[in-house]
Symmetry: C2
Subunit: 144 residues, 2 copies
Amino acid sequence: MEREAGVLQPAELKVEFSGCPVKASLDVLGHKWALLVLRNIGLYHVQRFNDMLRITPGLTKRVLAMRLRELEREGFIQAVERGPRYTRWGLTEKGEDALPILMTLVRFGSKWYADEVFADKRSRTLGDVFQISYIRQILGRLPA
Amino acid sequence: MEREAGVLQPAELKVEFSGCPVKASLDVLGHKWALLVLRNIGLYHVQRFNDMLRITPGLTKRVLAMRLRELEREGFIQAVERGPRYTRWGLTEKGEDALPILMTLVRFGSKWYADEVFADKRSRTLGDVFQISYIRQILGRLPA
DNA sequence: GCCGAAGGTATCCTAAGTAAACCATATGAG
DNA sequence: CTCATATGGTTTACTTAGGATACCTTCGGC
């Protein structure tokens, strides 16, 4: 009989979980469009409401407004500039720490969904996609 | 004015996207419970239907059945053993390639949601959580 | 003053996910 | 052999998250 998730302890695990860090992370980032909004800000440097709408096919104003408020409330993003004309969003430290998740998603998608990602439909490695210095900057020196 | 997502090209990007690899990856993995089912199989080595239900609070039979079929159809998992009593699920090569995503989620959750992940509520690094050899085995030598 | 763009809300509708009951097959205990 | 229990589901009904669309206010340019 299996044990509870919080008490699971495969051989590779050095600690005992009382909850699951994957589940915890997904409580916020698992909502639809959340990771793509983070991608817009952190990876594409698109900081404004209507610009995000424009570059994110399928995303609606209503949901974007919800995700921005949620990500702000949960400490992933903050207003870099809040004017009457527009607000520019940037990542907090917590948001920056979520970039490695996006990196692994880029890596996965570039390998397995090359047909919809690249015009020539050829798989690519992370090193093919980003400058090495940038990859190091984001992924840092794992496992830290 | 911003360009389309597929034509975006920040300084760090070496290639031009025609679609977004993050978006593509999330088409399957973005569905609720999908990453947690993958976690059950790939990280926790829990391979059977009712075992997954037991260790995954909130997940229902109906959704689990849907996610298993979807993950199988999309090539993330396969039946390791399909008997009359039960089926044991394992990762395909594609599923294994998704483990780095789970790793970064573990890393993120262990740092930012330590209060719900660890009994002592103290943040931990990936190196605190997994054996180094295991981290290397999964994350490999990035950026490849 | 008029127009368009930015950044939203309000209203309604659909699809995804949740809850709970039901069910067939297969042991396992007696 | 028979009964109880577990496994791995499906069915039906319900709730909620998200999609579509219309509307609205503020600002700046002309």
